[in-house]
């Protein structure tokens, strides 16, 4: 019972990191996705490089970089902030690519139909293309959210008191006994349990949206 309670005490922090960094990524991903699709080549290349760097450098490196590397008298960053900002930026990179794929997956005929009807560019983008792209990408976004939930565990390495950190603290006091393993197993099961509702939602969206679009 005790190890379960200890691990659960980290749950709010796990959820906070996941939700907050997802929110950052979801918003920041939009301009980046537009950057990835712009006709202005230099901007596209730069955004591409940024996205690739965000995705290509391990999460733990980003977190250490933010936590230990970025501190000036004017700019102080706590472990929690570093975790949220770091995971948020990385999410933005991944989500930007997901958004871009969605915009690309809207059939060309939709762009053409809107143009042929003479619907102005912004109206057709937000009224016609984006709603369809949103439906196309929502399963991928749900999958990414599940991944993000699991990745929030890496925040334990910079001492954010989320589930794995709590599990670690308890396990260290009970080395060489079952109580030294149990918290990890409990945390692992909790991650699986937590991802089930999102996965179910995603599957439902997937089935429904496939019906709605095309």
């Amino acid at each position: 019972m005790e190890p379960l309670l200890v691990v659960l005490s980290g749950l709010p922090m796990t959820l906070l990191i996941t939700v907050a960094s997802f929110a950052i990524g979801a918003v920041l991903g939009i301009p980046m996705a537009l950057g990835l699709r712009t006709g202005i080549a230099p901007i596209r290349w730069i955004v591409r490089l940024i996205v690739d760097l965000l995705r290509g450098i391990p999460m733990i490196v980003w977190l250490f970089l933010l936590k230990f590397g970025l501190s000036t008298p004017a700019f102080r960053i706590t472990a929690l902030e570093a975790a949220i900002v770091g995971l948020g930026l990385i999410s933005a990179g991944y989500l930007a690519d997901i958004y871009r794929g969605g915009l690309q997956a809207v059939p060309k005929g939709q762009y053409e139909a809107a143009a042929a009807l003479g619907i102005p560019g912004t109206v057709s983008f937000f009224g016609v293309i984006v709603p369809q792209a949103a439906r196309i990408v929502s399963p991928s976004i749900a999958t990414y959210l599940i991944g993000l939930l699991k990745n929030s565990s890496i925040a334990s390495t910079i001492a954010v008191a989320e589930m794995v950190f709590m599990a670690q603290g308890y396990a260290r006091q009970n080395i060489n006994s079952v109580a030294g393993v149990l918290p990890y197993a409990i945390a692992g099961v909790l991650y699986i349990v937590l991802s089930i509702p999102v996965a179910m939602l995603s599957r439902k969206l997937d089935a429904n949206l496939r019906k709605a679009v095309i």
């Binding site: 490196v61 590397g69 794995v164 599990a167 030294g180 393993v181 699986i192």
Partner: protein, 221 residues
């Protein structure tokens, strides 16, 4: 009082150690991949098996492997197994954890790739009187590889990045070397920027190749 060294000089002092770490990271990823790929194919075949018990077993193994964070799996192997009398060193522990995690993702990639081949191909094989195995081996699998290969490459890039987690169990890989260098110099910003670049040197070209391959394979036939 001494002043800060120029950046490039600072980096060049730390670089040999970091490159050594990078070598360990690459080895770790490589070995995990060599173990994980066939294991993933095995899991995939279990999951897709018509035998319900085998399929359920495969599903449990894969869903646990994908459902838990890699870090947890690593801790379970490193700190957990000794409780049950299995004492593994850092490196093999990291390999077991990473390879299992990787193989579960690969299993799903294989499955998705196979299912993406239009059903008409299976039907054509059936209608021609080809037996199931022949159709799978010569008709379905070659087509499935078209979508599987880029996805596998992408997953392998993630595997390479996940080797940084082995830092927590004291495997002397790149992240560990960076941290060590950081704790002797206390210039974390410079150190982790260099570490990030070391990772990027591998992951950036790899992801470019993946994208290129994806486009090329999509165009082929």
């Amino acid at each position: 009082m001494t002043t800060q060294e120029p950046l490039l000089q600072f980096w060049s002092e730390g670089l040999p150690g970091m490159l050594h770490g990078l070598q360990v990271s690459v080895t770790l990823a490589g070995v995990s991949m060599i173990i994980g790929l066939p294991l993933g194919l095995l899991f995939c075949m279990m999951v897709m098996s018509h035998n319900r018990f085998v399929s359920a077993l495969g599903l449990v193994v894969v869903e646990i492997g994908r459902g838990m964070p890699a870090l947890i799996i690593l801790y379970l192997v490193y700190f957990g197994l000794p409780t049950f009398g299995v004492l593994l060193d850092s490196f093999p522990s990291a390999i077991i954890a990473l390879a299992w995690n990787y193989s579960c993702y690969c299993s799903e990639i294989f499955r998705a790739g196979i299912q993406a081949v239009p059903n008409g191909q299976n039907e054509a094989g059936d209608a021609l009187g080809l037996d199931g195995g022949t159709t799978f081996l010569y008709v379905i699998l070659p087509q499935a590889f078209r979508s599987i290969i880029p996805a596998l490459l992408g997953q392998t890039i993630l595997l390479f990045q996940d080797t940084s987690l082995a830092y927590t169990v004291a495997v002397p890989e790149l992240m560990k070397e960076a941290y060590t260098y950081g704790s002797t110099t206390f210039q974390y910003l410079r150190v982790f920027v260099l570490a990030g670049l070391c990772y990027a040197v591998i992951t950036l070209p790899a992801s470019w190749i993946t994208r290129w391959l994806e486009r090329r394979l999509a165009l082929s036939y």
